[in-house]
Amino acid sequence: MRALALALRSLSREWRSGELGVLLLALAIAVSALTAVGFVVSRVSAAVDLQASEVLAADLRLESPSPLSTDYLVEAHRRGLLTATSIGTLSVVFHGDASQLTVIRAVSEGYPLRGTVQVATSAFGVATAAQGIPPPGEVWAESRLLAMIDAKVGDAVSIGAADLRVSRALISRPDQGSSFTELAPALLMNVADLGSTQLIQPGSRARHAQLFAGGRDAIAAFKAWLGAHKQRGERILDITESSPQVKSAIDRAGRFLGLASLVAVLLCAIAVAMAARRYVQRHLDSVALLKTLGATRAFTLTVSLAQLGLIAVAAAAVGAALGYLAQAWLVIALRDLLAVGNLPAPNLAPIVLAVITAVAILAGFALPPLLQLAQVPAIRVLRRDVGPPRLAAWLAFWPAAIAVVGLIYWVVRDLALLSGFVAGLAVFLAVLALGGWLLVRLAGALRGRVGVAWRYGIANLARRRAESIVQVVAFGLGIMVLLLLALVRRDLLEDWRASLPADVPNFFFINIPPAERTAFFDALKDAGGEATRALPMIRGRMTAINGRALDDIVFPREDGEGFANREQNLTWSTEPGADNKIVAGHWWRPGDEGQPLVSIATEYRDSVGLELGDRITFDVAGEAFTATVASIREVKWDSFQPNFFLMFPPGLLDATAGTWMTSAYFAPGAPRPIAQLVKRFPSVSVFDLDNILAQVRGVIDKAAIAVQSVFIFTLFAGLTVLLAAVQASRDERRFESAMLRTLGASGGTVRAGVLAEFVTLGLLAGLLAAAGASVAGFLVARHVLDVHYSFDARVWAWGLAAGAVLVAGGGWLATRSVVRQSPLLTLRGGA
């Protein structure tokens, strides 16, 4: 109690006399950077999730080829979730003599749970957000469908046994882009009318879906429940599985944001270590005096711990509040950049994270020096040269290492990423330390050739060798992460942009009859479309693998069964296409034409469990044949070009009846004479991908904004470390500058010396940081983010400039008052 009372009393006094201000400030700024990052990240990831949910029209979706039990809906209601149902099937829609194969979507009240349905009062008219779903007796038909069957809004169309009135033109619905299998035009109807159409009979092909939405935790719990209770053949889709593009964008964003916040955490740790070091230096005399006056080691340790603990609590509170304000300000500033609506409210989890992180950092980085402080011998009151015993190596290293590794794991939750990052960090720190040591060794050689100011500055570095190395490492790490972030951010954004070039195909054409192929491509070209490759499309079914019937095979993944149970689209081609990379085996060689070989996509390999040389038996149009897996391809699905899981060599399936498909790019703003194409080639189905692309771009844009926000806050964190590092040596400098001035040095000389020292320190740190960032950037781009890395020489210029300017500028500002102070005052008051 006495120790706590003393801690509290001297803490408030020290705060008022400005002693602990630096420590509190460093920790508070670090925590505020961390919480601001946490808040913004949580809000933007929630927005990304929300956007991704729109692609599903729900947070969670259960799909099955057979009707789904209503038990799931009952359970979801019990848990307070929103629900809706959607049944999709293919049927021909008639209007007069015209007919068109159409995706019929029968939905229940509440659909869509996420996103909005866009409708217009006439075909291709101005889109507005629909209220609710089509009332019974009415349908909303896609504009394309209306054009194809020559109908308009208000007409009645026949669907199965029912006649229903088209009351709106359907422009878009949220879940239209979730799968490319729905290539026919769509029609939205009320599920209440489904019975009267008699479309769904036992055994008829349909896709039954139940949609669920609610809070994140409730959805996660319900997903787990569904996973345990769902029947075979029923499939759960959530936002991470909704579509390959969205999944990949979220995954990359998540990893990058994790990495960026990790950097902020490490910068916090460095700042705290420096502040703690300074705290120890400042309290050596007080602790020695307390011991002289009769205080035990436990008492002095309790005083220090209590003070640091109180500072941590205050810093966490102030920092979290500042972080909350900062993120609110940031979101307001970014509002114009956010294309869609407001961000969801932040959750408070980052506060918990900030407090736990602050405590972990203090325990890892501040506790060991405090233990050391408690060891100061009382004799120091008589002999100032006596300090605490050297910190045991294990005590200096292990708590910090455990704290860092624990925090890194907490953020990335990936052992591979953890080990890579830790190894990289260790190597980088070792290289920086070696570089710092080299400079200090070289300093002696340089000293004789420079003026007095530089000699004094460099001599300072050389004399405080260990401290200089620590500072070079700290500055170097601070600059490196900023450079690394800039590098990785650039690579990431460029890679994302490159993955969706402006002229990505925006129209798909399927069902092109072989006889009309040439005429169609000519017409496409005349209409201004730039067609990509054309591939044939043949329906077939897998029946056996290596002679074993599919029923006897357990597939490694759930979707393997899907591949086994349904008809697949097969194709043949002479070339694999630039967006296909052979990762195993070989592409067709001369003489392979007409041979029973097949090339499979990696997804197919993984889901079905295939290897090179496996023999797959197919049934195509009633004829069975067995093909050997000759190659495995990695397919870039987001090239928006025709691609297939299964490709055969030419000459094998040529005779089989099939159609052709292609994709094409029409420049925005250019007339899109799609209607004429549809009229001239009525059997060809046309799909406008612009809506899907807009959804994908929206997700990517949000992720990019998140990345930039994190970048800004990590920059602040880096500057805090610089400030803490400069502050750490302030007391020594105050004394030295007073000494120098007493010896007759002018204020200008002292200032020049200080500047020379910081510039030298900054240049070296910048040099090493640029080298570190280049290597780490390469590793991160290659192994973590899986994007292309391009070398950038400007990193070196930026590293050197940033080092010199930031370190010299920060050092200058922080030591200005030191240099200005009267030497007499300083010497009298002690250092």
Partner: protein, 198 residues
């Protein structure tokens, strides 16, 4: 330190004098239990300091010992009053506040109890240190160059205070000094040179 053997009686005032590096401060540190001899024994009021661990010696100091230093060694974060209260609190004495105030009044600083060390002059700081040293009514007061950082007039006033308290409270005083006037006022002077008493 070689062949040093001495006894100091209760209520005595002893000055340790000698050239720089003679071992004066080392002797003081050993007597106060701030340091331990590699060989030999130090007894303080009947307790063998060399048989106690660091915390044990600290407790003994809290109960029986006061200190005055050349560099004052006040805790900058605490006010004059709080600095004086500190040893009372460490020794678990009651009524620390009133006793500390009384001690400060006695050294003539009753009006400056709320000031921080940096707001006080050197002489005032040393008087606060004196109040801190005597407030627990220690059996022994150790002083290391108590006037070393003070001008002659201020030093003399601090000396007066020191011996006044020595007399009034029957405190044993052991001080290291270069100041011959100060040494001359002690009942005994020990001369040290190269680690020996001469």
């Amino acid at each position: 330190m070689r062949d040093v053997s001495l006894a100091i009686a209760a209520g005595e005032s002893v000055a340790i004098v000698g050239p720089s590096g003679a071992g004066k401060s080392t002797l003081l540190a050993l007597l106060a239990g701030l340091d331990l001899p590699t060989a030999g024994r130090v007894r303080l009021g009947g307790t063998d300091l060399t048989s106690l661990d660091e915390d044990g010696r600290a407790r003994l100091r809290a109960e029986r010992v006061g200190f005055v230093f050349q560099a004052f060694h006040l805790i900058p974060a605490l006010t004059a009053l709080e600095n004086v209260m500190l040893p009372l609190e460490l020794a678990d004495r009651r009524d620390a506040h009133a006793q500390a105030r009384q001690a400060l009044e006695r050294v003539g600083l009753g009006a400056r109890t709320g000031h921080y060390p940096r707001q006080l002059s050197g002489g005032e700081q040393q008087r606060v240190a004196m109040a801190r040293a005597f407030v627990t009514r220690p059996a022994v007061l150790f002083a290391d160059e108590p006037t070393g950082n003070l001008d002659a007039a201020t030093g003399a006033r601090v000396c007066d205070l020191l011996f006044e308290m020595n007399r009034d409270l029957q405190t044993t005083v052991v001080l290291v000094t270069h100041d011959h006037a100060l040494a001359g006022r002690c009942t005994r002077a020990l001369h040290m040179d190269a680690g020996r008493l001469t």
